[in-house]
Amino acid sequence: MKKLINRPQDVVQDALAGVALAHGDRLKVHTAPDYIVRADAPLRGKVAIVSGGGSGHEPLHGGFVGRGMLDAACPGQIFTSPTPDQVLAATRAVDGGAGVLLIVKNYTGDVMNFEMAADLARDEGIVVESVVIDDDVALQDGRHTAGRRGVGATVLAEKICGAAAERRRPLAEVAELCRKVNAGARSMGVALTSCTVPMVGKPTLELGPDEIEFGVGIHGEPGRERRPAASAHDIVAALATAIVDDLPFGRGDRVLAFVNGLGGTPLLELYVVYNELHTLLASRGIVIARNLVGSYMTALDMAGCSITLLRLDDELAALWDAPVVTTGLRWGA
């Protein structure tokens, strides 16, 4: 294993120390329990938004803390959900009296830890709403699984809800908006190589040199099926078709298209993917009205990408365009 790290067990702490030093003007990094919070929190009368999850997905979530997006993020250990005391401490730190929205990705660990934290916060009299994101079409929803994973739609929900909260919309509306984003978004990913978890020291997924894994999540867990490596054209066709058919998206839909790198893929290739996606959607009469191309929700050093489509209306487009000032996303301000 070659990585720019010291002791594997210290990676998260060492990185948080780096974040604190690099962005101390705008962020406060608390340790034990770990959370990253806007330096100007709490904001009186503004709904606060807290998210979090395992580390290894950067810039998600810490990189999205700032004006127009998250008020706080709770980084867990690598690929491991944060603990309830982290989420509780972050919730207390950002509550400005208008309530707190917890944005939770649908993984068993995240759901249970955030649920325990929400219970504890409510016991303290903080008004809390939780919304669970589950946009991954690689998995069938149903009683016989833990349900669909939360992937790319999380970034979009954090941005859009953050903008709504900045406009002082009340908690119930911000939570409803979050559910609307989740309901209108679908994603799927493909891995070209595995990631390597520092504490494990070897690749999680055994992929041959000419194999790719379709329908992967963001933790190196096996996906839906293994296939021979293929051209960007064919890979995008497979991903986009699964996504479009699932919602389904149809002729005349305006969408936000999010091409996300999984950590080990150059931006150059992500634009190749975007080009293919644009062509394919155009042929189906789907209009890309907004886009985001880059590595925003990663799986450590995994090569590959995910595609997320979100059906837009004027409200969502306007909130997407609203100013945002974070280390991960920044425009309009």
Partner: protein, 238 residues
């Protein structure tokens, strides 16, 4: 009793067999579990790499190291021996909740917290009190994760272990023998997860492909109950 000759603990100075569980026994249990988790860390992580995300051994080791640290801190303050069994179980549960993360943190945390609530203020628990406490803890974990038997989770090891312990208590087995049967039931439950298709947790994402692998959480649960069988009957003197 057939097991009487094996039941005398090293800390039991009188040489007579103790049939009650004290705080000292809980400490010995947690130390034995921590040692087992440290020893089998890589195995647990490999099982999780096959059907999950390769962190279960790491999560459990981090949690049990935190528990050991907490026990040592209590010891340094002279607070390890005094007080109720329930309170100590709750301390362990809180420590797990705040250090493990993942699915295992809330589940093992809830197990120990609910065991602690059921154990109450008593400074010693009989086998049947202990069996009821374990059953309460297991129901707590089941309620938290909403898993049913045969969903291929830790519940598949925990439920039969709790049932075997209650059956052992009801039929008048010695503490040592009842704990052994409980651990054996956990082991069978763990082994029975191999052919199952997972319906909860990360492994459920694999569907049919999860069959043929032993569940990592059921494996750590067997370690927990195996540690109880080795440590509790031979626990520290109160």
């Amino acid at each position: 009793m057939t097991a009487a000759d094996q039941g005398t603990g090293p800390g039991d100075g009188s040489g007579a067999r103790r049939e009650a569980i004290t705080r000292g026994d809980v400490v010995a249990w947690m130390r034995a579990f921590a040692a087992a988790v440290a020893r089998d860390r890589d195995h647990l992580t490999e099982l999780d790499a096959a059907i999950g995300d390769a962190d279960h051994g790491i999560n459990m080791e981090r949690g049990m190291q935190a528990v050991l640290g907490r026990l040592d801190a209590l010891d340094a303050l002279g607070e390890l021996a005094g007080g109720g069994v329930g309170e100590l179980l709750k301390t362990v549960g809180m420590t797990l909740v705040s250090s493990v993360g993942g699915a295992a943190g809330p589940l093992y945390g809830t197990l120990l917290l609910q065991m602690g609530s059921a154990a109450g203020q008593a400074s010693e628990l009989t086998l049947s009190d202990w069996a009821s406490a374990l059953a309460a803890g297991v129901s707590g974990a089941q309620a938290r994760g909403k898993a049913e038997l045969a969903d291929k989770t830790m519940i598949d090891a925990l439920v039969p272990a709790a049932e075997a312990l209650q059956a052992g208590a009801a039929s008048g087995l010695s503490l040592a023998e009842a704990l052994r049967q409980s651990a054996a039931a956990a082991q069978r439950g763990m082994e029975a997860t191999v052919p199952l298709v997972a319906r909860k947790g990360r492994a459920s994402y694999l569907g049919e492909r999860s069959a043929g692998h032993q569940d990592p959480g059921a494996t750590s649960s067997w370690l927990l109950l195996h540690a109880a069988a080795t440590a509790l009957p031979a626990g520290l003197a109160p």
